[in-house]
């Protein structure tokens, strides 16, 4: 079953064609090119750009696979979570196509897309229950996947998302915004133990959530406490120290909770999953907990994209007959849709 998928949840206008877990095309038109990886949005501009580009993205997604809408059996669209005025552009376009060609329309949760993105073009079998970790600019969630479509949130952030914390730390170092990706590069050149930063929630009894606000505050004090202009070396070491603590905390919470569940697989998605150091630490955690750690096969599946939306829809509805669940008229944007709630 071929699915045409659309995602306009943030600042990438994305369309894709997928079949089951196979990506046939994956068109991403970024509004702010490379530097928008984790954010940087002007809402009205984002909306206008989505409107201008969505037709082109859809056409290109179809053309790349030598398809027309007539070869498509369903339309999938991100209904949430995301920026309302951005989401509504994709939802309106999906509804229009579904109605015009009399196709079923599947509303997909953007986080479910990230969660299942490691399964794209993936042949090995994943056993359930599996663990899933979504780390991006807007989300940090550890999820228990009982099976495709049944999710339980085991831990999420109580303040900042991981990607947001990295971006803000980069900003404090004068590395611009969003700067998580550059922070990673600076951190590679620095020594992570140079500056003592607190371990988030070290004393808290609540081990079921992530928190980056205390670390952010300590970092602010560290950076602003330095009277003179920071040298490149200091910037490297500060970046390394911050990133180290942020990841240690993530790994600790995932380990604590992860070992309680009989999972064999850990799926990792979202923008921060592109971070090499984080990948290394998660693989190490996988070895310790006997988990197979899986990342998306391509960086194009890591940031926001529509292929992951098509895959989530395709895995959830492998059978065409099951599809008559939603009438296009019933589908609307849900800006704060949580992954553990059915549409």
């Amino acid at each position: 079953m071929k699915i045409l998928a659309i995602d306009t949840s943030c600042d990438e206008t994305a369309a894709a064609v997928t079949e089951g877990a196979t990506v046939l095309s994956n068109v991403i038109w970024s509004q702010a090119a490379m530097h928008a990886k984790f954010g940087g949005v002007m809402p009205s501009l984002a909306q206008r750009m989505h409107k201008e580009r969505i037709d082109f993205a859809v056409r290109k997604a179809l053309l790349t696979t030598h398809c027309t809408v007539n070869n498509i059996q369903a339309v999938a669209v991100t209904a949430g979570p995301g920026l309302a005025i951005a989401l509504e552009v994709g939802v309106a376009k999906a509804k229009e196509i579904a109605a015009k060609y009399n196709l079923p329309l599947i509303p997909v949760n953007h986080i479910e897309g990230h969660l299942l993105s490691p399964l794209a073009n993936h042949n090995e079998k994943v056993s359930f229950p599996a663990l899933g970790l979504v780390v991006s600019g807007g989300h940090t969630e550890l999820v228990l996947i009982d099976k495709i479509g049944e999710y339980k949130i085991l831990a999420k952030t109580s303040d900042d998302a991981l990607g947001e914390a990295l971006d803000k730390a980069a900003r404090m170092l004068g590395l611009g915004y969003p700067g998580g990706a550059i922070l990673e590069k600076m951190a590679r050149l620095g020594k992570p133990k140079t500056y003592p930063l607190p371990m988030p929630m070290a004393r808290s009894s609540n081990k079921e959530s992530f928190s980056y606000s205390g670390l952010k505050t300590a970092f602010f004090r560290l950076v602003s406490g330095s009277n003179s202009q920071l040298t490149a070396l200091e910037i490297y070491d500060m970046a390394a120290s911050f990133q180290n603590r942020a990841f240690q905390h993530l790994i600790r919470v995932v380990t604590e909770i992860g070992k309680k569940y009989p999972a064999k697989d850990l799926l990792v998605g979202g923008g921060v999953a592109a971070n090499i150091e984080l990948r290394k630490r998660l693989r190490k955690l996988g070895k310790e907990l006997d988990l197979k750690v899986r990342f998306p096969y391509s960086t194009k599946l890591v940031g926001d994209n529509a292929a992951m939306i098509g895959i989530a829809a395709g895995l959830r509805f492998p059978d065409h007959d099951l599809l008559n669940t939603y009438h296009p008229g019933q589908v609307d944007r849900k800006p704060r849709w949580s992954i553990d709630v059915d549409y």
């Binding site: 038109w29 090119a33 809402p43 303040d159 590069k185 606000s213």
Partner: protein, 347 residues
């Protein structure tokens, strides 16, 4: 296409190629790049044809020094600090452009990426040319990173080859990453002009923990909740990174009976908890953008809003001084590590 070795290349000849709108492929400290004259619109179009690049994706310019950069982009404090620390080097610094380059080089928002290569041949070339070149990696979009000229020649079509006027071969380059791009246009430049705000009454208190800060949120809610349903209430929060604006809102929300966990809205810009709408102006570039999130309607619906980084959009919030109850809350760091001074006042 003409191929010359770097050691045999003459700067004057290359300048001549650039001056007549030619496209060159050149070595630098990252990967092989393709470049044209940044001021020549036809040449930039040619570069886009070569790159087979989607419209709307901005380019970066290469300059020889900061002085040349300042003729083409407005460097703020962040940008200047980056230039000082990291340039020349594999870093593209995005600033507000001065619109002196050909169309399509700056982004749709008018920002411009600038880089100073850490490669003496290129610095000499740009110096000789006297103005910036538009430079991008020499591979077609989404193709292999070019570290030697065959990485390019084996992967481009005849049509693309015909677009290249001159190729400067320096053998195999060190396998460095392409340059990193940093956007400096989001700077904390908008400062609340405190002088304009006249508080009717003002109070302040010291918080010693996150819980304290949350409780102050709760108390302020109890103080002003009498207006709920009659007028919109805006809690306009200001304070540096990590001061506790989200913590304050957590307390506010809990006092309002909201069960959901309140988290930072920086990425989402807006999180709607039903009774309370939590907004964040940090990534918003102007007050107008706040209006585009439907501020006017929220005010006329008598909503209750908590706005983080409200000082960045102070002028917009001030427009609603009559229609809404605006409670300005300022959180600042105090002497002790966990201490904050929280002061508030109603306009």
């Amino acid at each position: 296409m003409q191929i010359v070795k770097e050691k045999d290349a003459s700067i004057a000849k290359i300048v001549e190629v650039l001056n007549r709108g030619g496209l060159i492929i050149f070595p630098c400290e990252t990967v092989y790049g393709a470049a044209v004259d940044a001021a020549n619109p036809e040449a930039v179009k040619k570069l886009s044809r070569y790159k087979q690049r989607l419209l709307g994706k901005p380019y970066a310019i290469m300059v020889s020094d900061q002085k040349m950069a300042e003729n083409y982009a407005e460097l703020n404090k962040t940008a200047r600090s980056l230039y000082r620390n990291f340039l020349p080097g594999p870093l593209t610094v995005v600033s507000k452009g001065k619109h002196k380059v050909a169309a399509g080089v700056e982004s749709e928002n008018g920002t411009l990426g600038v880089r100073i290569p850490d490669y003496s041949f290129m610095l000499k070339l740009i110096n000789g040319f006297g103005r910036p070149i538009v430079a991008t990696s020499a591979n077609a979009s989404y193709k292999k990173r070019p570290y030697k000229i065959n990485d390019i020649l084996d992967n481009i079509s005849q049509k693309q080859k015909r677009l290249v006027d001159l190729l400067i071969d320096a053998g195999e380059l060190l396998h460095n990453e392409p340059s990193t791009v940093i956007d400096t246009t989001l700077d904390d430049t908008v400062v609340l002009r405190q002088g304009k705000v006249v508080f009717g009454q003002q109070s302040s208190v010291v918080s010693r923990s996150e819980e304290n800060t949350q409780n102050i949120g709760k108390e302020l809610w109890q103080k002003y909740e009498g207006y709920a349903g009659q007028r919109a209430i805006i809690f306009a929060l200001e304070g540096p990174m990590g001061a506790g604006k989200t913590q304050f809102t957590k307390g506010l929300a809990r006092a309002m009976g909201i069960k959901e966990e309140v988290v930072s809205p920086t990425f989402s810009l807006e999180l709607d908890y039903g009774r309370l709408v939590h907004l964040d102006a940090w990534r918003i570039q102007s007050g107008e953008e706040l209006e585009n999130l439907g501020l006017k309607k929220k005010i006329s619906d008598k909503s209750i809003l908590a706005v983080e980084w409200a000082d960045r959009v102070a002028d917009t919030i001030r427009k609603y001084n009559e229609e809404a109850v605006v409670v300005w809350v300022k959180i600042t760091y105090a002497k002790e590590e966990n201490e904050r001074l929280i002061s508030w006042g109603v306009v």
